[in-house]
């Protein structure tokens, strides 16, 4: 990009050898970062520098770098996925920072997401919530009815899609003062609650998923809304409301 320039920055990064070790902030200077680089490319550059100095590079999670796999995380200057709204860390670019900036980088902070090393945390609790009921119990045989035999109103399909667009990155949990996973779980419950295919098991699904969510040690929702603001995919609080309705309904039946 023709408008790109190079900047020098200072990084304050959380280093932690492993889950049991005590962690702390380390300071690094990094020069000549192109503003066209992504945030993770900037970390690559830092790691290259560390390897060349024969120091251990900073461990961080990342994979697709297209904002869709949900693997990247990072608390940047006190915000999940950094300063830009609607953006994953991999899609955050250094043009959002200025020459001479100091940037704080920390791992997701939540009891249910224990640190594995440096900036890498364990998010398998999300998998276990999904395993508790985040599916439609249909056999994988292909012997189902024709896909068009149950019409789905476009509005419902669109809403289900908007909920299903959750990438499971965990920014909602990290942003929440209670460490609540209700935006994630609400999105999953909503996707199936809105579609005819998911209705049959709706009662059991929401009860099971919520039970697992509680067992994993996530906190409750107090309607602060930080999760929605920091969600890189714009998952709406509406989904939490829908989950609560589904849960209440399921508890009465």
């Amino acid at each position: 990009m023709s408008s790109a320039k190079n900047i020098n920055i200072t990084l304050k990064i959380w280093r932690q050898k492993n889950a049991n070790a005590k962690g702390g902030i380390e300071t690094y200077k990094l020069d000549n970062v192109s503003t066209a680089s992504s945030f993770l490319e900037m970390l690559d550059q830092l790691n290259e520098q560390l390897v060349n100095e024969r120091k251990e590079p900073v461990a961080f999670d990342h994979d697709c770098r297209e904002g869709i796999c949900g693997m990247c995380s990072l608390y940047i200057n006190g915000r999940s996925h950094g300063p830009e709204t609607g953006t994953t860390t991999c899609q955050l670019h250094m043009r959002k920072f200025k020459d001479g900036d100091t940037i704080y980088i920390e791992p997701w902070r939540s009891k249910a997401f224990p640190v594995i090393k440096d900036l890498v945390v364990d998010r398998t609790s999300f998998d276990r919530i999904q395993q508790a009921g985040g599916f439609v119990s249909v056999n994988t045989s292909g012997n189902t009815i024709d896909a068009n035999s149950i019409p789905v109103p476009k509005d419902d399909a669109d809403k289900a899609f908007m909920a299903a667009a959750c990438i499971g990155c965990g920014a909602c949990v990290a942003s929440c003062k209670n460490g609540s996973a209700m935006l994630f779980v609400g999105a999953k419950v909503s996707q199936y609650a809105l579609l005819p295919q998911g209705k049959v098991e709706a009662t059991q699904r929401v009860l099971n998923m919520v039970r697992q969510m509680d067992e994993e040690g996530f906190g409750n929702c107090t309607n602060t809304g930080a999760c929605e603001i920091e969600c890189p995919k714009g998952i709406s609080l509406e989904n939490i409301a829908r989950m609560n309705r589904e849960y209440l309904k399921a508890s009465i039946i």
């Binding site: 490319e41 590079p57 461990a59 697709c64 890498v120 189902t144 019409p151 289900a160 899609f161 295919q197």
Partner: protein, 669 residues
């Protein structure tokens, strides 16, 4: 090594049905006695693990990511094909089969591709039943769009996130089986070797990426669904972790590796920004439905654009060269990927590129015509038959936003340019690999008991892959092919009993893995793993990239050999083996890329023709179109491993027989 494709006899349309009717079965009460390992949890792996688990086998699934939901299938944008003919535009199983064979430049197996087309409809039914929220029309029916290389609308989609929704669907089925205890999931584990006992695949050595511990896992059959090897180029649209290690270890254990030179270069990626670039981002091919591709007609305009003196919007209509529409009037901007990619390269090589970097590689993908025509349509539909230009453009932008909003947003985030106001800049990039582990009709490799599915195998795409066909193949293999063919193999294993991991074969394999890890960690080198990976990538892109020639390929083979030597001598890998160590993970993967890269060049060198993703400068007609040699080159090139120096690899040929369709030149004009 003898290659037996095991293609069943009989008429094409009945092959799979008849074959299935005669495959051996494992009775439900015997299935819990049998263990299956699935490596990789993308569309092929997750659907296979879920299906096999549901059938009652004991399944162990492995992925290197922190969750199976992150497999790179999730990043596929555009859609999935199926011969449903919902749009009544003449689609059929035969047509999907024919388009796929033709799109693959007549280098795929007829029988495999026909099976793919046959089960395509079931995939959509299955996914909808699982709660995958595909796009719908207002009447509640599924919506379709078209893709490059075809003239019907057979692509099902979920905005620009189809791969995500399909993968999450497969992941939900997998999660159900994990919850039920039928599948045991190993996240953050990497397969580092295949273990053979008496010639059969009997297990794997996996490394727990968190603790570094090497684990032995045994099974009666192993399914590899570990994706493609595009990251051999360093820069590609693949996820950073995508690697060839699982397939390459299988190859090293005796499975043939087929057509490695067939690499798809995707025409619509965001151009490279600079030296720190870590990967490339794809813009969905579906954008070609609405965008027109052009470069300036005059070189001085292109130069002025690159210098920042002229904006693309200032170039008059008659000074724009819509080169795809000019060269291929019948298909226009919707020509197949290989044709579109080469045409872009040709314009940029000639000096008409518009990107202001040291390569000048970039062409425009322009939505202004579509904004105007759709805006007018919407205005009319709203009863406004005399809309102002302003109204038209406003409505047109809204229409575009509804259809492609997320892609436009993504583009703006990466490039800092607003594609509603100025045309997108795109350029081809390495995307999908059609080559892979050689498999027979059962998707079994040349090692008994080792099956390979999805992008990791070579079978269905030929020399080129049409849009929206990769998702189809991944799910077809996992949901609808492997459950039958793996069972057929396992029918002879019900008396085998538990396979012990104490066998010497496991101990030996584990020791070999440990030695290679220790060698890296004790190496007194000075350069990072990425240093060598980038070097390899540059050679691959320049000499084994979009166009190849004999001289370049011979140089590449030499140079890669040299890089490999330097790598083992001078790589520095920090940290230890008993902890999370991403640098060590990369080193082990790059070691395999350095062998594969050389084999890719070898394969390209022996293929004296141009076809699909493989374009040899020496074989083109006067207009720059590909020249295939059907008489001499209509074969699958399957390589046998003969050591780390892959110039020693031995080529075996599986002849491709076209019994049911006539081979013809691919003409998109």
């Amino acid at each position: 090594m003898k290659l037996d494709s095991k293609i069943p006899e009989g008429p094409l349309a009945k092959k799979w049905t008849d074959y299935k009717d005669h495959l051996k079965l494992v009775a439900p009460n015997n299935r819990p006695k049998i263990d299956i390992i699935v490596v990789g949890t993308g569309l092929a792996g997750a659907s296979a693990a879920a299906s096999l688990g549901e059938m009652g086998y004991n399944v162990k699934a492995f992925c290197f990511q922190d969750s199976p939901r992150r497999a790179h299938s999730i990043a596929a944008q555009g859609g999935i094909n199926a011969a449903k003919n919902y749009q009544n535009d003449g689609d059929s199983i035969y047509r999907l089969f024919y388009d796929t064979i033709k799109g693959g430049d007549y280098r795929a197996r007829e029988a495999n591709v026909h099976r793919l087309a046959e089960v395509s409809g079931n995939i959509i039914d299955q996914c909808v039943a699982q709660g995958v929220p595909f796009a719908r029309e207002y009447g509640g029916m599924l919506d379709n769009r078209s893709f490059g290389g075809v003239q019907v609308q057979r692509t099902f989609y979920a905005a620009g996130q189809t791969g995500q929704q399909l993968l999450l669907g497969a992941y939900s089925s997998l999660s159900r089986q994990i919850g039920l205890g039928r599948v045991k999931m190993y996240n953050r584990h990497e397969m580092l070797d295949l273990v053979k006992v008496d010639g059969k695949a009997r297990g794997i050595i996996a490394r727990n990426l968190i603790t570094g511990e090497l684990e032995r896992h045994s099974a009666h059959a192993v399914v590899i669904a570990s994706g493609g090897y595009g990251n051999v180029y360093f820069l590609s649209t693949n996820a950073m972790g995508s690697n060839v290690t699982a397939s390459w270890k299988v190859h090293k254990q005796g499975a043939a590796f087929a057509n490695p030179c067939y690499v798809q270069i995707h025409p619509t990626c965001i151009p490279v920004h600079g030296t720190n670039q870590s990967k490339l981002t794809l813009m969905s091919e579906s954008l070609r439905n609405s965008g027109r591709i052009w470069v300036p007609k005059k070189k001085e305009d292109a130069e002025a654009i690159r210098a920042g003196k002229l904006k693309p919007t200032q170039i008059a209509e008659e000074d724009r060269d819509y080169y795809l529409e000019r060269r291929y009037p019948a298909f226009g901007n919707l020509v197949p990927r290989d044709v579109a990619s080469r045409a872009a390269k040709e314009r940029c090589d000639d000096g008409y590129g518009v990107e202001a970097n040291d390569t000048n590689e970039g062409v425009y993908l322009d939505f202004s015509s579509e904004i105007k025509s759709k805006g007018k349509e919407v205005a009319y539909a709203q009863g406004n038959h005399d809309p102002s230009d302003e109204e038209i453009i406003k409505l047109g932008k809204q229409w575009i936003e509804e259809k492609y909003g997320n892609l436009f947003e993504m583009y703006e985030k990466i490039t800092d340019e607003n594609p509603y106001e100025t045309p997108m800049k795109i350029y081809p990039a390495v995307h999908y690999t059609m080559g892979g582990v050689w498999v027979d009709y059962n998707l079994q490799s040349s090692i008994p008991g080792c099956f390979v599915a999805g992008e990791a195998n070579f079978s269905d795409h030929g020399a080129n892959r049409l849009g929206a066909s990769a998702l189809m193949q991944g799910l077809a293999d996992g949901y609808f092919v492997l459950p039958y063919t793996v069972s057929n193999y396992l029918a002879d294993e019900i008396r085998t009993g538990k396979i012990s991991t104490d066998a010497t074969e496991f101990a030996e394999a584990e020791k070999n893995v440990k030695d290679s890890i220790d060698k890296f960690l004790n190496n007194d080198g000075t350069k990072s793993v990425d240093y060598f990976h980038k070097k390899l990538g540059l050679v691959m892109w320049n000499k084994v990239g979009m166009a190849r020639n004999e001289k370049g390929l011979k140089e590449a083979i030499e140079e890669i050999g040299q890089i490999r030597e330097d790598f083992y001598r001078d790589v520095y890998v920090p940290g230890s083996s008993d902890e999370l160590n991403p640098e060590l993970e990369k080193a082990l993967r790059v070691a395999d890329f350095l062998e594969l890269g050389q084999l890719m060049a070898m394969d390209a060198l022996q293929r004296n023709e141009s076809c699909g993703g493989h374009f040899r400068d020496e074989y083109q007609d006067a207009e720059g179109e590909t020249l295939r040699d059907d008489e001499n080159m209509s074969f699958v090139g399957a390589w046998e491993y003969k050591g780390q120096d892959t110039t020693k690899a031995v080529l075996h040929k599986e002849d491709l027989k076209y019994e049911f369709i006539k081979i013809a030149a691919r003409n998109y004009k």
